[in-house]
Amino acid sequence: MTIEELSDIQEQEQARQQKLANRIYCCTAAGCVSCGADRVRQSLHAEVKKAGLQEQVEVCGSGCMGLCSQGPLVRSAADDALYGHVSPEEAAALVSGNPVDRQLLAGKRIDTTAPFFALQHKIVLANSGVMDPEILNDYIAVGGYQALAHAVTELSPPEVIEEIKQSGLRGRGGAGYPTGLKWELVAKQSSQIKYVVCNADEGDPGAFMDRSVLEGDPHRVLEGMALAGYAVGAQQGYIYVRGEYGLAIQRLQTAIKQAERADLLGNRVLGTGFQFRVDLRIGAGAFVCGEETALIASIEGKRGQPRQRPPYPPESGLWERPTLINNVETFANIPPIIAKGGEWFASIGTAGSKGTKVFALAGKIVNTGLIEAPMGASLRTIIFDIGGGIPDGGRFKAAQTGGPSGGCIPEQFLDVPVDYESLAKIGSIMGSGGLIVMDESSDMVDVARFFMEFCMDESCGKCIPCRVGTVQMHDILARMTRGEGTPADLDMLEQLCTLLRETSLCGLGQTAPNPVLSTLRFFRHEYDAKLAASRGGAQ
């Protein structure tokens, strides 16, 4: 495919879609599929056939539309209506253009002007609900691969990097390293062979942002990687995706094949001299493989264990070559930045954190699902306005961000803007975007114990502090929750927190104490109450 052909396909596909009387988007992300979206889609197809409307009404899939708690979700494009909890029996009413039939569905229609939709700002998830992730032409119709076409024909690699630097984009994997700087580091290396790696080993409990992006818009990630390859001078990319994400793997495989066939990836990208191939590497279920050096070892076919940095991957990574590693969401932000310019992106968000962030809302919250909010929105906005607050009249107690590496944020910080700096100041981290809301029924010592159990199970066992320290910390926390703790235990727990933070080899061990430290900081009274109770029991 050449650049001219790309534009032709875009116009033709847009025109074709406009001629249709209706296009019905049925959510095909894992959340909706697990509650029966496939059957809804099948019966929609059957109804279209029965009504003889194949030429006028098209049924297609769509990426995650956000409100996962109300799945299966179906969107009808003609009247821009979104329906929740759709059952296969309602397919006829959805297919029919008759307003009387539609009236039957009125109760299931979701108000898209509600704060859940109105307060979101979609960049990464912009295409979810308006295109089918399994059809390449759909992605091209919404402007897909235009950024890549623009870059390879009109921009030099340093200009692409300059644009990313200007945008102020920071890594969405959790640490928030400036993306433009990382790209520049790799670009400056003199090696002939370089690699681009997409980290899709999303493993935090309660997080599913990257999965939804891969399932709902795989081509966007491929385009972002190709742009990175062009900018840093790499010809090979790898996507390291966790084995549990079957649907995402399948969508990626389809997308890679489509893109290769259309010369959007491969030896002659868009008919130019730029070449870039992407291969999948599937993880075998180790959380630590999200750590970049362990991820590299795993791609190389070795045991997934981290090694000490430096050298950092931009200098010596995959097979000791300069390697650029970014997270799924980071790559998904690249095409719009190149298409609309770094300045546009930098106009969204706060001084230090630009753009938007996708959050997976989970726990005690009304609107469980996927949202995208501009950086700097307060936790209150995210949890109470977009998320709809706590169900069953419950009272907010804490929000956990950043998974097992993050911390719990208590009520007094609800108005803190959510950006990298502010969260770090209150002892948590942005993390990859998992946000677990807890109400008063949560026992904070048990929350700390839960995350410690996770770290204990996921420790690779290479370094002693993490391998044995997590076991001992879990042992202490478990005894405390059972009311068997002693003050000496609490003292040892704090000593181990410091030990793990300062001496562990990789990020997993270094950040494993964070949930304990933050609950100790804000909910120390709960620990004290447990100790008092166990003393009482002993008497």
Binding site: Q308, S459, I464, R467, L499, T503
Partner: protein
């Protein structure tokens, strides 16, 4: 070869570019504690005992994995490092069943020496007391998982010096175990050459020669230096 001048514990020392802080320190008489390091094979920075403070860096660095730089100011034995090292040893002693009184290496064991040297005389946490097996299927040697500290010296010496790669790890976290080949009994391993290098480098009584009783096992590490010198410098000297 460029020479780097640095300060280790207040002492001016020199090293060659590419040398680790650990090597330079030992060569100039500063003994940094270690368990996973053994001269002659690659380093992994796993035991975390050799962590040092480097001025201007927030993080503690494993000295066996960090190269010397010009003007570096390194501290190897501060109060903080000592207390971290003792706690790491406590974790190790609590992890498996290290009962010195009935160990073939009693009195010769590096783990024991380390505890003595660093002043770790009691364990303040719960012993895990895992139930682990002893593999005595090999004709000449035995493997006692109860005494293994997972330093992976055996794995590295077998792979890098003998070239057999009989040893590897299975499982993860506290459930990691050293395995021969794909988890067979040692005696049935197809790759093992029975050279005994792993036994000689093992810091504890986890790998031992059969027929030795409590405190009788002596290990000889000079062979490794001999092989490495022979390989790298083509000098066959003891």
């Amino acid at each position: 070869m460029s020479v780097k001048t640095l300060t280790i514990d207040g002492k001016m020392v020199t090293g060659i570019a590419g040398e680790t802080i650990f090597n330079v320190a030992w060569n100039s008489g500063v003994r940094i504690p270690r368990l996973c390091h053994v001269g002659g094979v690659s380093d992994v920075g796993a035991c975390r005992l050799c962590l040092v403070e480097i001025e201007g860096q927030k993080k503690l660095m494993a000295s066996c994995m960090t190269n010397v730089e010009e003007g570096m100011v390194v501290r190897t034995n501060t109060e903080r490092l000592q207390s971290h090292r003792r706690l790491i040893l406590e974790l190790l002693f609590a992890e498996r069943n290290h009962i010195c009184a009935v160990c073939v290496m009693n009195g010769q064991c590096e783990l024991q020496d380390m505890a003595e040297e660093l002043g770790m005389d009691h364990v303040r946490m719960r012993y895990l007391f895992p139930k682990l097996e002893v593999d005595t299927s090999h004709e000449r040697f035995g493997l006692d998982h109860n005494r293994c500290i997972l330093c992976t010296r055996c794995v590295r010496v077998c792979d890098e010096v003998e070239g057999a790669h009989t040893w590897d790890l299975k499982g993860r976290g506290v459930n990691s175990l050293i395995i021969a080949d794909l988890g067979e009994p040692w005696g049935q391993s197809d790759t093992c050459t029975s050279c005994g290098k792993c036994v000689q480098v093992c810091p504890t009584g986890a790998l031992f020669s059969k027929g030795r009783t409590v405190g009788e096992m002596r290990k000889d590490r000079r062979f490794l230096k001999y092989i490495v010198t022979a390989r790298e410098k083509h000098q066959w000297i003891r």
